[in-house]
C-alpha cells in the first residue's frame, strides 16, 4: 500500500525560505553580489543546467528518470553546429533540426521504457552512451568550432540590455512546462501514473502513449538546453557538461520531486536551481576556492534529503525497478 502523503506545499515554502535566506546572507556579506553585472552573469550561467533539470522533471514525475538529457543536449548542439557550418542557405534549419533530434531521442527513450518495459534508469543509461557515441562519431572527437557569429551573438545578448536571452528562454520553457504539467491531460495523467501504474491502467490512461510523450518532451527541452549551450560556449562538444547530469538530478530532488513518482513541481525545480546558483556565485564573490562548491552543494543536498527522509516518506527504491510488478 502506498501511503505517501503530499508534503509538497510545505516543502516548497521551506525551500523558498532557504533560497531567500541564502540570497540575503550573501548579499549582506558582500554587497557586490547585488551588482547588476553579477546578477546578469548569473542570468547567463544557470539557464543551461536549469533547462536540463526541467527536462528531467516530467520523467521523474512518472516515477522514471532520464539520464540521457546531457547527451541529448550535446547531440542536438552538434547537429545544429554542423548545419550552421554547412552554409548560410541551410543555416535556418539548424534550430528546427536540433529540436527534432531532441524529440526523436526522447521518443526513443520513451519507446524503450513503454514498449520494451526497460527500467528507465537502465534504458536511459544505455541511450546516454548511445547518443553520446553518435555525437563523438560526428565530431570525430574535438569540439566543432567556427560557428557563424550571428548565432553565437545570441549567447551573450540581453533583451533591452537587461534580461539575458538564456534567462528569457529558461523562463518561457519553465512556464510552458508548468502549464503542461498542471493544465493538460498529459500532465495530470503523468502525475497519476507516477503514483500508481496499475491503477493508471485500470483507469484507462493510455500508458504507452503517455510515456513516449513524456520522454519526448524531456528530449525536446534537453535540445533547447543544447542550443543555449551552443550559443554561449561558441562550440559543440560531445562530452560537454558531463558533470551536469548528477547536478541536474539532485536539483530535482532538492526541488521536492519524489523519485518514486507522483510529486514534483516546476516552481520547486526553479527555486532549487536559483538557490544553487546563489550559493555558487556567493562562494565565488566571497573568494572561496572553486573547490568548495561541490562541498557546499553536496552538503546541502545530503542535508535536504535527510530532513525529508526524517519528516516524510521518501524513497529511491522505485528508481531501480518497475513498479507495476510489485504493487
Amino acid at each position: 500500500m502506498d501511503a505517501r502523503q503530499d508534503t509538497t506545499k510545505a516543502y516548497l515554502q521551506s525551500l523558498a525560505v532557504l533560497t531567500i535566506a541564502v540570497f540575503t546572507a550573501i548579499a549582506l556579506a558582500s554587497p557586490s553580489f547585488l551588482s547588476f553585472n553579477n546578477l546578469r552573469s548569473m542570468g547567463f550561467q544557470f539557464p543551461e543546467f536549469g533547462l536540463l533539470a526541467l527536462a528531467v522533471l516530467p520523467t521523474m514525475i512518472t516515477g522514471g528518470i532520464d539520464l540521457s538529457v546531457v547527451s541529448v543536449a550535446n547531440l542536438a548542439s552538434i547537429i545544429a553546429a554542423v548545419i550552421l557550418r554547412a552554409g548560410p542557405e541551410v543555416a535556418w534549419l539548424a534550430v528546427p533540426a536540433a529540436l527534432a533530434v531532441g524529440l526523436a531521442c526522447g521518443a526513443f527513450n520513451g519507446f524503450l521504457v513503454a514498449y520494451l518495459r526497460l527500467p528507465p534508469i537502465l534504458a536511459t543509461l544505455g541511450t546516454m552512451q548511445l547518443f553520446g557515441g553518435i555525437g563523438i562519431i560526428i565530431t570525430q572527437g574535438p569540439a566543432i568550432t567556427g560557428l557563424p557569429s550571428w548565432y553565437t551573438a545570441y549567447g551573450s545578448w540581453s533583451i533591452g540590455g537587461y534580461v539575458p536571452l538564456p534567462l528569457a528562454i529558461f523562463t518561457v520553457v519553465a512556464l510552458l512546462l508548468a502549464f503542461i504539467l498542471r493544465r493538460t491531460g498529459m500532465g495530470i495523467h503523468a502525475r497519476l501514473y507516477g503514483s500508481n501504474q496499475v491503477a493508471a491502467r485500470f483507469a484507462g490512461i493510455r500508458e504507452k502513449r503517455l510515456i513516449v510523450r513524456v520522454y519526448a518532451l524531456a528530449g525536446l527541452i534537453a535540445a533547447i538546453a543544447g542550443l543555449v549551450v551552443l550559443a554561449r560556449v561558441n562550440s559543440a562538444n560531445a562530452d560537454y557538461g558531463s558533470s551536469y547530469l548528477l547536478l541536474v538530478i539532485l536539483i530535482n530532488i532538492l526541488g521536492g520531486v519524489n523519485p518514486a513518482g507522483g510529486f514534483g513541481t516546476v516552481s520547486g525545480v526553479v527555486m532549487a536551481v536559483v538557490c544553487l546558483q546563489f550559493i555558487s556565485s556567493g562562494l565565488n564573490i566571497l573568494a572561496f576556492s572553486a573547490f568548495t562548491r561541490d562541498l557546499f552543494f553536496g552538503g546541502l543536498l545530503v542535508l535536504v534529503m535527510s530532513v525529508r527522509a526524517l519528516t516524510g516518506s521518501f524513497s529511491f527504491g522505485t528508481l531501480f525497478r518497475r513498479k507495476a510488478s510489485t504493487p
Binding site: 501511503a3 495523467h189 500508481n196 491502467r201 485500470f202
Partner: protein
C-alpha cells in the same frame, strides 16, 4: 484445556487505554483482556480505532494513558519486548519474504535465531517442519513463499508466529483474501491451537465468521468499547447494531421490477485457456447480475476479459448487437464499459493523489478546451460527485488515502459514474468496506441499475449476491454451472452450488 473465564490463565490485559492524535480522540478508556486459549473478536467499522489499539498492543504506538500487560508483566511501548513476551501480530499482508522458502520464513525471525552465531540450516529447517506438522498443515517447506496461494501464506505466517513461541496471536482481517472453504480450514487450525492454550485476537468486520470461531467479542465504535461479552450473548443483528449504531437488516434490497430489455452485452462460448471456458452471458440494462465463485474459479479473468484487459481466445462477444474484439481496456471504455477492480488499494486508487484527480482521471476530456484543462471545472465536478455519493471528506483536494475504505470505494465508483457507463462491472465491490457503507454502496448500485445501466458484480460473498442481484450465476472451475433468480434462491443452495466441485 483452559476455560475462557480462568483468571489464572490471563495472558493479556489492556487497561484504560487512551490515545489521541492532535485533537482527534482515537481511543477512550478501552479495556481488553485475553485468557489462555481464548479466541476473541475485536469488531468495529473502519475508523473505529481497531488498528490503533493493535498498534498500541504491539508496542509500535505509545498510548497516552493506560497499561498493557502480558501474563502479568506490564510492558512499555517496546515492540521487541512485546514479541519476547509472546505476542505475534499477523498483518493483512503477512509481512513474509516472498523470495525465501517456507521454512526460511518460518524460522528466520530474530527471536528464533537468538544466540545463533552460525546459520544452522538443518536444525532450523527441522524446526519449521515440526511446526507445520503441529498445525497439521501440508505445505512443501522448500517452496518459495511467492508461489503459494494466499491461504497458504496465511498459514505460513501463523506457523512463523508459533515457531516464535507466540502465546497471543493477533490477526488483522485474517479472512479478507480467503474463500469460504479456506476460512473453514483456517478456523479448524485455530480451534486446534486454542486447545494448546494459544490465545487469538481476530480483528474483523465480517460477521458470519465471527460467530463460527470466537469465544467472546469486543465491539469498538468511535474509539470506545460499546459492548463486550461472550459470544452466546450476541446474534448478528445485535452485533451489527453495536458496530454501526443503527440496525440493519441483511435482507434483499427493495427495488422495482423492470421490463426485460435487449441485452447490452452478449457472450457466446467465451473462453480463455486455463482460466474459463464456454461462458454464455447476457447483461441487460436495468439488471444486476452477480457472478459468484471461489478465488481461482476464473471469475476475475472473465470480468477482465469483458473489460478488454485480457483477451479471450475462444467465443464471441457482442456489444449493443455488434460483434467486438477489444484490443485493450480503452476500446471497452469507448464502448461504454466500466470496471471497478478487485483490489482498491493497488488497482483502483492513486492513494497519494487528491480525491479530485482520482474522480476525474478518466474524464479529463469533459473539461478540456483545445489543449487546456479548466481546473475549476474539474474541482466543481469532483465536488458534485462527492456530494452525490455522500463521500465523507472536508474537501476534494486531500489525498484519497485519508479516506476510510467505504469512502475510497465510492471514489472509484464516482470515477466511473462520471463516464455514465452502459455496463458497470464490479469485482468485489464491498471487500474491506464496513457494514454501514456496504449497504449504502449496494443501494447505489441498485439505483444505478434502475436508471438503465447494466451491472455485473463479481463476488464470493453470497449474502451480498442475494441482497444485491436480480440474477445470480455460479462459476466453478472456469465454467458457469448454474443460474438462479435472486428473489427465490437461499444462501444454503447457493453455497452448495459454489463449493460443489471444490469438495470433490
Amino acid at each position: 484445556m483452559a476455560t475462557s473465564q480462568d483468571n489464572e490463565g490471563r495472558v493479556l490485559e489492556m487497561r484504560s487505554i487512551r490515545k489521541a492524535y492532535g485533537p482527534v480522540r482515537v481511543l477512550e478508556n478501552v479495556d481488553l483482556t485475553l485468557d489462555r486459549g481464548e479466541v476473541r473478536c475485536l469488531a468495529g467499522e473502519n475508523g473505529s480505532g481497531k488498528s490503533t489499539l493493535i498498534k498500541i498492543l504491539s508496542g509500535v504506538v505509545t498510548a497516552d494513558a493506560g497499561s498493557v500487560s502480558f501474563a502479568g508483566r506490564t510492558l512499555g511501548a517496546d515492540p521487541v519486548a512485546a514479541i519476547d513476551a509472546g505476542l505475534s501480530v499477523i498483518y493483512q499482508d503477512f509481512s513474509l519474504f516472498p523470495n525465501l522458502t517456507v521454512w526460511e520464513n518460518i524460522s528466520f525471525l530474530s527471536a528464533v535465531n537468538r544466540g545463533d552465531f552460525v546459520h544452522r540450516r538443518l536444525s532450523r529447517r527441522g524446526r519449521a517442519i515440526e511446526t507445520l506438522k503441529r498445525m497439521q498443515v501440508e505445505i512443501d517447506p522448500d517452496m518459495p513463499v511467492e508461489l503459494l496461494p494466499v491461504a497458504s501464506k496465511q498459514l505460513v505466517a501463523i506457523a512463523r508466529a508459533l515457531a516464535n513461541d507466540a502465546r497471543v496471536i493477533v490477526m488483522d482481517e485474517p479472512t479478507t483474501a480467503l474463500t469460504r472453504s479456506e476460512v473453514a480450514h483456517l478456523m479448524e487450525i485455530v480451534g486446534a491451537l486454542k486447545k494448546d492454550g494459544v490465545a487469538f485476537l481476530f480483528v474483523s468486520h465480517k460477521i458470519e465468521e465471527v460467530f463460527a470461531v470466537c469465544d467472546s467479542i469486543t465491539v469498538l465504535r468511535d474509539g470506545r468499547v460499546v459492548v463486550e461479552g461472550p459470544i452466546g450473548e450476541f446474534d448478528s443483528a445485535r452485533l451489527v447494531e453495536a458496530m454501526t449504531g443503527r440496525s440493519i437488516d441483511s435482507q434483499r434490497l427493495p427495488r422495482e421490477d423492470m421490463a426485460e430489455q435487449t441485452p447490452f452485452l452478449v457472450a457466446r462460448g467465451l473462453g480463455r485457456r486455463g482460466e474459463y471456458a464456454d461462458v454464455d452471458l447476457e447483461l441487460r440494462p436495468g439488471e444486476i447480475v452477480s457472478v459468484v465463485g471461489l478465488l481461482g474459479s476464473g471469475r476475475t479473468e472473465l470480468a477482465l476479459s469483458l473489460f478488454g484487459y485480457l483477451a479471450p481466445d475462444a467465443g464471441v462477444l457482442e456489444v449493443a448487437g455488434r460483434p467486438v474484439s477489444f484490443r485493450g481496456q480503452n476500446d471497452a471504455m469507448d464502448a461504454g464499459i466500466a470496471y471497478v477492480p478487485e483490489d482498491r488499494l493497488t488497482e483502483g486508487l492513486f492513494l497519494s493523489q487528491p480525491i479530485r484527480d482520482n474522480i476525474v482521471v478518466s474524464t479529463l476530456d469533459k473539461n478540456t478546451r483545445g489543449f487546456a484543462i479548466n481546473a475549476k471545472g474539474l474541482t466543481q465536478r469532483a465536488a458534485a460527485a462527492v456530494k452525490r455519493l455522500r463521500i465523507k471528506t472536508p474537501g476534494v483536494m486531500p489525498a484519497v488515502a485519508t479516506l476510510s475504505g467505504g469512502n475510497q470505494q465510492r471514489v472509484v465508483l464516482a470515477r466511473w459514474m462520471e463516464r455514465s457507463p452502459k455496463l458497470m462491472i464490479l469485482n468485489g465491490p464491498t471487500v474491506g468496506v464496513d457494514v454501514g457503507s456496504k449497504r449504502e454502496i449496494h443501494e447505489l448500485l441498485v439505483s444505478l441499475s434502475r436508471s438503465g445501466t447494466a451491472v455485473m458484480v463479481v463476488t464470493d460473498d453470497i449474502s451480498e449476491a442475494i441482497a444485491l442481484s436480480d440474477r445470480i450465476l455460479v462459476m466453478v472451475r472456469g465454467r458457469i454451472t448454474g443460474s438462479f433468480d435472486a428473489r427465490s434462491v437461499d444462501e444454503e443452495t447457493l453455497y452448495e452450488e459454489v463449493i460443489k466441485e471444490d469438495r470433490a
